[in-house]
Amino acid sequence: MGSNSLYGPLDPAPDAGYVDAPPRMGFFTDTSVCIGCKACEVACKEWNAIPDDGFNLLGQSYDNTGGLSANTWRHVAFIEQPVVPSLTDALAAAGTQFLGMPLSDLPGRVTEAPRTDFRWLMMSNVCKHCTHAGCLDVCPTGSLFRTEFGTVVVQEDICNGCGYCIAACPYGVIDRREDDGRAWKCTLCYDRIGDGLTPACAQACPTQSIQFGELDELRTRAAERVDALHEAGVESARLYGHSEDDGVGGDGAFFLLLDEPEVYGLPPDPIVTTRDLPDMWKRAGIAALAMAASVAVSFLGRRG
């Protein structure tokens, strides 16, 4: 257990007690080459025999899955971004929130000129396997644990469905499965990588938007990719979750995005709740003392 055990840069597996642990493995998801085919969603479900999510047309462009959940461990997001000048002004004027949905009812929105430009962002979202994982920290049964590969896995033979991890995840990834009661999320194919195989989603991904490998290698590869995109004029390319200095100590599964994180439903500045835990216990201690003092004061006063 080192100094950064609760917060800050850390190699999590050795810190979690693995002697000569293998290098930390992770995902780099380069959304600039994602074609939204959802092979990752299907390959993940076939490998892990995950129940389906129901058949509902959500109208969120081609995303009828909705989001990561106990029954969806890879989720492809679709954001249609018309870059019609009048749209952005109209939005600002109306002060409404641009919710990524195509708005057909906005005044002045129906333009004669064909749209000048258009972007259709696609992104395969997944559990972040954080360096400092809120879900893992708060898990009271030890079901969620750090594997030797530095990934975060729910042990389905231990989890009693207390649900605490669900509230603790800064990305809203993990969820409890209705009829099953236990919490479920991406295991980074702990059974496959244990045998030296590639996770099912990374194996299937047609354009290698999802890359699996040693996290350090992926981080250098991602940095080069961002530079290449900037040179190619894609100014909006940026990495997300790559830096060890962010609020969760860097993600084991990080991304190259083409817009602000919240456009994809990702938090712009996630911080693991464990960072403030020592301060919380301190505060609770003071309150406890105040409580004890109050009782003492109450009973030590004049006998009345």
Binding site: E46, G59, S61, P102, S104, P114, M122, T207
Partner: protein, 861 residues
């Protein structure tokens, strides 16, 4: 491509990462457009205007790869004086006969060879028998010696004829007809021409939606002309790649379960043209013609030996007499209409679902309701098997189980994991699949089913003396006892040297004297050296980037066709960077990264002696060895029913009057003029405002064709759970359609309902001065499966391309209204009312010839 061939799209991403510019031209912004540098929204059905504009740009700015064009195309050849272009005849070529709506093509011939041209009767038969499909493996028949003008100045040389034909396809016309702003159009032209020529190549990729137009074959022709002009054919990173739809659709035209072809693109005998064996052989190989197609007799005889074995002898013309004959159009749409008329007794459906997958769903289902019996073999319960109890017509009362007389058998089929055999994928590569497990329950492979059906039929006819049963009695039909051996069948396809019993290694070994057999000459070599080449699995990373040792490509394991053109006339690569196949003078043979598409030891300097024919007549610089003149055709003197050069005709259903010519739509298109197959009105007809919008259909990544293999699976159904229609915000505002609300779409054939997705990915276009709205529909839904919905193909009528008889389902006109469609009998009157308002009343005939000069001579079909 990212939508329907996502794993193939990895190579586009690879190219993009190496600096290639990716341009996607499509009416709708799709997942392919999302990865492209530029998306060019075009009006559906105006592709030839767009591509013709590019030909115009190339020729007017002399941006063609001149050395390549001179050496390898027929640009310098002089066309007959009798030839008149669409510029002269208001949209028709010379030789048009309005009585049959076909051309006498003799005037299209090269100068002095008019008599080789195809006269009316022949063209009419060619259209009826989709003869265009024969040319998948070889060019049309043509004489050898042709007058030329290498300076390309003669007004009647192909180059000049092409320039005149496309002179009016200016960027301004492209904008008016396609709705593409001139700047965007010129960006495409500049990108395409800048990335072509000696040092650079451009690849043209199309999905087979292109063939689903009344001018479909001419779309592909225009693409080929551009790629020839720019010298991209036969070169790495160039060419034209068709993205076909099914796992072995290429295989199912090579070894065709098609009415008009025998294996290896040999034509099915025609009762009039091929009455005798000799007529049949001569019709195939055209004596005196140059090119590889000359030894077609060997291929034909070997096929008959494979079919009839020892019973096929020289005396009985190798059993030719037992083959059935075509009399005209026996295509699937002709059959569907014949079923409605009660002419067909029995119908087999083998892993196909016409109730949803074929055009005019209602006609398909009404036809099936008038059969004696129907046999469906599939993995899952599909709509074609339950038309009698769950089909839309049951709801409207047109079909009721109690009154539907069709006997229906549903046989469970084996999946791809439960049988061994080969698929042929879209690059002509045969890949052998190993069998993983036995099929469950009563499920069997089609091999098993037809083998045992054939054994039962032969047993029943064993004692027959009727002449009609000779064929079936003499058939070689021995492939094992219970599960027939796929390997044995593939070996029969490959062919044997009957004298030694050895497997043939190349089709050059085939003889016309009955000493060799071969079920499909273009597949000969799949068992070269007695080894199942299709089963080779040498990992890609241990081979060259051409990976010749994975599977086997026909013909002769050649991966890129016409690769002779990747070298200049003298046999040296046009550029070292793009070297692919070249002449090695020291070794005295052609060599390179791929199997050379040329005779191994024929030097580039070889010139054929006077009067030579067949293979001998191919000169050292004839890169297109399957063509009658050894050249790539910018101008097709024969072989195409609707014209030597692609011409912009409006789709069969359009609201835009063709501004370039009086002739509105393809005058030679195949039309079934019947009351149960109406066509929406198009100019110059009245009432085009009844169906004011353009619609197109195509696929989603998450579903597969008619849904039988995807809407039955939870993990795919949840990704796209409901039938929907995509409309632009402008159209949604105009028609009051709400995002996620309901809408119903109406054509002269049917009305279907769908949830509404309002999206900016569709955009209104300014065409001929007014706004044209386009809407888009996926066609996967039907009444069976975990997720069900109305079928988009119900909207579409039966109007076919004349060359290959494929229906126009990529563009049509329709109306769209908010809310769900009527149900029950009310639906029929609702659609009937639309027909009435559109003037489609009994006795109405869609005009075919609409040129201003032509009196209203309505061509009979």
């Amino acid at each position: 491509m990212a939508e329907a061939h996502p794993v193939g799209f990895q190579w586009v991403v690879e190219a993009k990462n190496r600096g290639a510019k990716v341009i996607h031209v499509d009416p709708r912004f799709s997942r392919t457009s999302a990865l492209a540098h530029t998306h060019v929204p075009v009006r559906a059905g105006a592709d030839i205007a767009f591509l013709g504009g590019i030909v115009n740009y190339i020729l007017e700015n002399e941006k063609d790869f001149r050395e390549y064009v001179l050496a390898y195309t027929n640009a310098s050849m002089i066309v007959s004086e009798d030839f008149q272009d669409t510029e002269d005849l208001d949209g028709l070529f010379s030789g048009f006969d309005p009585s049959t709506n076909t051309y006498d093509q003799s005037s299209w011939m090269y100068a002095g060879h008019e008599k080789h041209g195809q006269e009316h009767g022949e063209s009419h038969v060619q259209r009826e028998t989709a003869a265009g499909q024969q040319h998948e493996s070889h060019g049309a028949p043509l004489p050898g010696d042709v007058p030329r003008d290498p300076t390309l100045q003669d007004p009647r040389c192909v180059y000049q004829i092409l320039r005149r034909h496309y002179r009016r396809y200016t960027p301004e016309v492209v904008e008016r007809l396609c709705g593409v702003p001139q700047a965007a159009f010129l960006e495409v032209c500049e990108a395409w021409t800048a990335n072509s020529g000696r040092e650079r190549t451009t690849a043209l990729v199309y999905s087979v939606g292109w063939t689903q137009h009344s001018v479909g074959v001419q779309y592909i022709r225009t693409g080929a002309i551009i790629q020839l002009l720019l010298g991209n054919m036969g070169r790495p990173g160039g060419g034209v790649l068709a993205l076909r739809g099914h796992a072995s659709i290429q295989g199912s035209t090579d070894i065709p379960t098609l009415f008009n072809l025998l294996p290896g693109y040999l034509p099915m005998p025609h009762h009039e043209q091929h009455e005798t064996f000799q007529q049949w052989i001569d019709a195939i190989r055209h004596p005196g013609q140059k090119g590889f197609w000359a030894n077609a007799e060997a291929y034909a005889v070997s096929l008959l030996k494979a079919y009839f074995g020892d019973a096929a002898t020289a005396e009985n013309d190798w059993g030719y007499g037992w083959l059935p004959r075509l009399t005209g159009d026996h295509g699937t749409y002709r059959q569907a209409l014949d079923m409605i008329d009660g002419k067909i007794k029995g119908y087999f459906l083998l892993g196909q679902n016409p109730a949803v997958g074929s055009a005019h769903g209602r006609a398909q289902r009404l036809g099936m309701a008038n059969l004696d019996w129907l046999v469906v073999r599939d993995l899952y319960m599909i709509e074609s098997a339950t038309f009698w109890k769950n089909g839309p017509e049951v709801a409207t009362g047109e079909i009721t189980p109690e009154t539907c007389r069709t006997e229906v058998f549903l046989f469970p089929a084996a999946s791809h994991a439960e049988k061994e055999g080969t698929f042929t994928q879209t690059q002509r590569i045969l890949q052998w699949r190993e069998q993983a497990v036995e099929p469950p329950g009563d499920a069997h492979s089609e091999l098993w089913f037809f083998y045992h059906l054939g054994k039962r039929i032969r047993a029943r006819l064993a004692a027959s003396t009727l002449p009609r049963d000779k064929g079936i009695q003499n058939l070689t039909w021995e492939y094992g006892d219970d599960e027939p051996s796929s390997e044995k069948v593939l070996q029969e396809i490959n062919g044997y040297d009957l004298s030694t019993g050895d497997l043939l290694s190349t089709f050059n070994q085939m003889k016309p004297d009955g000493t060799t057999s071969g079920g499909c000459w273009i597949y000969t070599g799949v068992f070269a050296d007695g080894v199942n080449q299709a089963a080779r699995r040498k990992p890609g990373r241990e081979q060259s980037w051409v990976a010749p040792e994975w599977g086997w490509a026909w013909p002769a394991n050649r991966r890129t066709l016409y690769n002779r053109a990747s070298a200049d006339p003298d046999g040296n690569p046009w550029s070292s960077r793009k070297a692919y196949v070249w002449w090695d003078p020291a070794a005295g043979e052609w060599t390179g990264h791929d199997v050379p598409d040329f005779e191994k030891t024929k030097p580039p300097s070889y010139r054929p002696p006077e009067g030579a024919t067949g293979v001998e007549a191919i000169s050292g610089d004839d890169a297109f060895i399957m063509q009658g003149d050894g050249k790539g055709w910018l101008f097709a003197p024969a072989g195409l029913i609707d014209g030597p050069m692609p011409t912009h005709y409006e789709p069969a259903e359009s609201m835009v009057r063709n501004p370039l010519y009086g002739q509105q739509a393809n005058p030679t298109r195949k039309v079934y003029d019947r009351s149960d197959n109406p066509t929406n009105p198009s100019p110059p007809e009245q009432h085009t405002e009844v169906f004011p919008y353009v619609f197109s259909t195509s696929r989603l990544t998450e579903h597969h064709t008619a849904g039988g293999m995807s809407r039955q699976l939870a993990y795919l159904s949840e990704l796209q759970p409901e039938m929907f229609v995509e409309v632009s915000p402008a159209l949604a505002a105009e028609r009051g359609l709400d995002h996620l609300g309901w809408a119903h779409i109406v054509t002269a054939r049917a009305a279907i309902e769908a949830r509404v997705l309002v999206t900016e990915r569709l955009t209104p276009l300014r065409i001929e001065g007014r706004i044209v709205h386009q809407l888009w529909l996926p066609y996967h839904w039907g009444s069976e499966g975990l997720v069900t919905g109305d079928s988009a193909n119900d909207l579409i009528g039966i109007t076919l391309d004349p060359n290959v008889l494929i229906q126009e389902s990529k563009v049509g006109t329709c109306d769209i209204q908010p809310g769900r469609r009527p149900v029950g009998p009310a639906l029929l009157s609702f659609v009937e009312d639309y027909r009435r308002r559109a003037g489609l009343v009994p006795g109405h005939h869609t005009p075919i010839v609409t040129t201003h000069s032509a009196e209203d001579a309505d061509g009979e079909q």
